[in-house]
């Protein structure tokens, strides 16, 4: 149950999604990934991709225009 963080602050789409995909490959089932993003369109495509792959996803607005997408790897 490790917790990883991917810093995507200042990265435009689709870089955050690619980073998340790469990191998710390295993780074990049950690990949690926190993606820090400030590009609003990553708010759409990362959760969509993760949910479609069956992972648990939560989005939190940690600051104005800054979000953390929390993904739990389930498989």
């Amino acid at each position: 149950m490790a917790e990883f963080t991917v810093d995507c602050l200042g990265e435009a789409c689709p870089v955050p999604l690619m980073k998340v995909q790469k990191q998710m490959e390295k993780m074990a089932v049950g690990d949690v990934l926190i993606a820090q993003i400030d590009h609003s369109c990553a708010m759409k495509n990362i959760p969509e991709w993760a949910r479609n792959n069956g992972h648990n996803v939560e989005i939190e607005e940690v600051d104005d225009g800054e979000w953390e997408i929390v993904i739990e790897k389930t498989k």
Partner: protein, 235 residues
């Protein structure tokens, strides 16, 4: 506001456990109202000078608002199918195209029937090799820049720093393009055909054909997503 924050943190602590405490956010609602008042004030000032200008201003503001809230992104519509296999934005764009097809046909046909000049005919552009080359270049550019023209503007408005740079070079590129346009027109576009579909297929034919193509693309996008991602349950 407080109630909202409480429910949010409740939802936040549901399944996945997290360590960091939340930062306190500033309430932006007063700024929102201030912005709304400002937009209304500018509209009133413009309206006294020129009614159409005020209309453009209001439409522009509405367009920006919807674009931002809908997370509508032409770049994503072309890019996401390649990266994730998701075509939800692609299909949204296709629906938008279908609606505008009907709207534009109505406006143009209305003008045609009333015997007036059909508006927007200067935008019927010649189709040539330059169109394809330009399309590929624009496609590469918009993926690197993280947005097309409208998307970049929208994210500059959101305060995304990197795309202020995109916007700057977008302006520079447009200026260069505009100053070179004469050469392209002379060498590539002068002999290229201009196609206005209603001239070829008739008004009803053009409308039906275009809607049919969009419909087929929609079905293809839907099938592609199912194939790439398995069965999806989103929207």
């Amino acid at each position: 506001m407080q109630e909202n924050a409480a429910t949010q943190s409740q939802a936040g602590s549901s399944q996945i456990r997290r360590s960091k405490p939340r930062k306190k956010k500033k309430n932006q609602v007063p700024f929102g109202f201030l912005g709304l008042l400002l937009i209304a004030a500018v509209a009133l000032v413009l309206g006294q000078k020129n009614g159409t200008l005020a209309l453009f201003w209001v439409f522009g503001c509405c367009f920006g608002f919807i674009l931002q809230k809908a997370r509508f992104c032409f770049t994503a519509s072309m890019r996401d199918p390649c990266i994730t296999g998701s075509t939800s934005v692609t299909r949204a764009v296709l629906i938008a195209f279908a609606i505008t097809t009907i709207g534009f046909t109505a406006i143009k046909y209305g003008a045609f029937v009333n015997g007036g000049q059909i508006p927007g005919q200067s935008y019927v552009m010649p189709v040539s090799l330059a169109t394809c080359v330009g399309g590929v270049m624009f496609g590469i550019g918009m993926v690197i820049a993280g947005g097309c023209a409208s998307g970049t503007l929208m994210r500059v408005g959101e305060g995304f720093g990197m795309q202020i740079l995109s916007l700057f070079f977008f302006v520079v590129g447009s200026l260069i393009g505009a100053s070179h346009m004469g050469w392209w027109t002379l060498n590539f576009n002068a002999t290229a055909p201009k196609v206005f579909l209603p001239d070829v297929f008739g008004w009803a034919g053009a409308l039906i054909l275009q809607l049919a193509v969009i419909g087929l693309l929609y079905i293809a996008a839907d099938k592609y997503e199912k194939k790439r991602m398995g069965n999806t349950d989103e929207d």
